[in-house]
Amino acid sequence: MRRDTQHVLLVLLGGALLRIAADDTYLRYVRPSHRWLLLTAGAVIVGLAVVALLRDRAGPPAHEHAGHTPWLLLAPVLVIALVAPPALGADAVGRAGSANPVVDGSDVFDPLPPGGPAELPVAEFVQRAIFDDGGSLAGREVVLTGFVVRRGAAVELARLTIACCAADARPHRVRLVGDLDDPAADTWLRVRGVLQEGSATAAAGYVPALSVTSARAIPPPPDPYEY
């Protein structure tokens, strides 16, 4: 690959990073705190290319051939520019096995804020349902936001938790029980309901069941993951 082609490629690559960090697109792939990393890296990549371009124009360009592998840098650029794949959804949840991840030692829970229905992350709801001996969820109405996963006839509400990027996503799932009008997979729902106590057993794969009092389809949120 010739030097001038390399420069153009680097500008495109840096531009792609800046582009996805400019709006909420980057949230499909990495956690929110990565935004400034992407902006810095994108700016540095573009900067390196521009500096090299200016130096090449000023003096006789150094001849070098870096082989063919740099061409591969075009792959992420094209995928981002042309397709921008959506955040992980029901397909990824289906691939992750049939049980909820359980984290040892998280059995100390603060009481839920008093008052009306408590808005909880799906992951926290699942951990409370499995471990909380204090009964903070007993008879308490909660509001959960997630997307639909179909498992046979059962309808589940799922949300993926990421630590760094979408490659390390772990799903948390809640079985929805009640009057739902057959939502399609990957539909985002805001559901209100009450935990069916004792439902998150090992036999059930630690998937708690929620008696749904109301469910409303919503547009996908800008940050699709929990962190």
């Binding site: 690959m1 992407l38 090299a52 070098e64 984290v103």
Partner: protein, 311 residues
């Protein structure tokens, strides 16, 4: 440049086909994971190439010789411990290790740094502590296991390794006319272009394996310790998780005892498909073909010993 424009034009014209192909759920999942790994790793690769450029521009071989012990056997643990201060993940350490070799650091010491830097830095250890709230010994075992992996591999390489296995074209510093900042910029740019393509290969391999490896792998392992250790070691290689995130994945696999999960944490930052691709591109295929299996064996061994003693 004509070829380049041709590729771009074809891709844009073929966009409807591409969008169609990627609407299949499994390909969509793989594409998202692919972009996620690239996007997540690129800032760290940029940090690595900038550090590499800074070493080329500002740290002369003479300075490095003064800082490091003269005997390679003693330089290995010093270089490994130096990994404590580079708060990045594995993508950042490959270009830095290559530049260290270019500046005259013994191969074995630079490789010990390569293995230690992503595994024992403060960010990774804190992440591990957060992921395993009730198990502080997990953090200690991970640090000891990873540091041991780096040192043992370094010493073995010093004994058994041959200089010609490392592609010297990679190590040769580029003759750049101009000031030190020009050297920094040109070295960083060159390293980025040559390593970036291999990062893409690694990301693609990891994305493919992420959708191909059946989840039953980990679910069927409860109670079979030996098999669990082996499978978790292999999973660490094929999943290519960032070393700052792998602890959270390991913590979620609660059906397994701690030992196989420790193996997962020690092997992952030392050898995975993304790293193998990066190393093949940076140091040559002859190097990667020998270094990857060596590291894998040493990492599994060190993790098991550290786990048996400390957990």
């Amino acid at each position: 440049m004509h070829v380049f424009c041709g590729v771009l034009l074809t891709a844009i014209l073929a966009r409807p086909l591409l969008v169609d192909a990627l609407s299949v759920p499994v390909l969509q999942t793989a594409a998202t994971v692919f972009v996620a790994i690239c996007v997540q790793a690129l800032p760290f690769l940029v940090l690595g190439v900038l550090l590499s450029g800074a070493i080329a521009a500002f740290v002369s071989p003479a300075v490095l010789r003064r800082v490091l012990p003269a005997r390679p056997a003693a330089a290995v643990p010093v270089a490994g411990a130096a990994g404590l201060v580079l708060p990045g993940c594995e993508c950042a350490s490959v270009p830095v290790a290559r530049r260290l070799i270019g500046q005259g650091v013994p191969d074995a010491a630079a490789l010990a740094f390569l293995l230690a830097a992503p595994a024992v830095n403060p960010v990774v250890l804190v992440a591990t502590a957060v992921a395993f709230p009730g198990e502080p010994r997990m953090v200690l075992a991970r640090a000891v296991g990873s540091l041991a992996t780096a040192c043992v591999t370094g010493w073995l390489w010093q004994r058994l390794g041959r200089a010609e296995w490392i592609a010297r074209r990679a190590a040769a510093a580029h003759a750049v006319n101009g000031g030190r900042w020009a050297v920094l910029a040109e070295t960083a740019r060159h390293d980025l272009v040559s390593a970036g393509g291999f990062l893409v290969i690694g990301a693609a391999a990891a994305a493919a394996l992420a959708v191909l490896v059946p989840p039953a792998w980990t679910e069927a392992l409860a109670g079979q310790l030996l098999l669990a250790v082996l499978v978790m070691a292999l999973l660490a290689v094929v999943l290519a998780l960032c070393s700052e995130a792998d602890a959270f994945v390991a913590a979620s696999l609660t059906t397994l005892p701690l030992l196989p999960r420790l193996v997962f944490l020690v092997v992952g930052p030392a050898v995975d498909v993304k790293l193998i691709a990066l190393q093949a591109g940076t140091f040559g295929r002859a190097f990667a073909a020998r270094f990857a299996p060596l590291t894998f064996a040493v990492a599994v061994g060190c993790a098991v010993v550290a786990g048996l003693v400390l957990l």
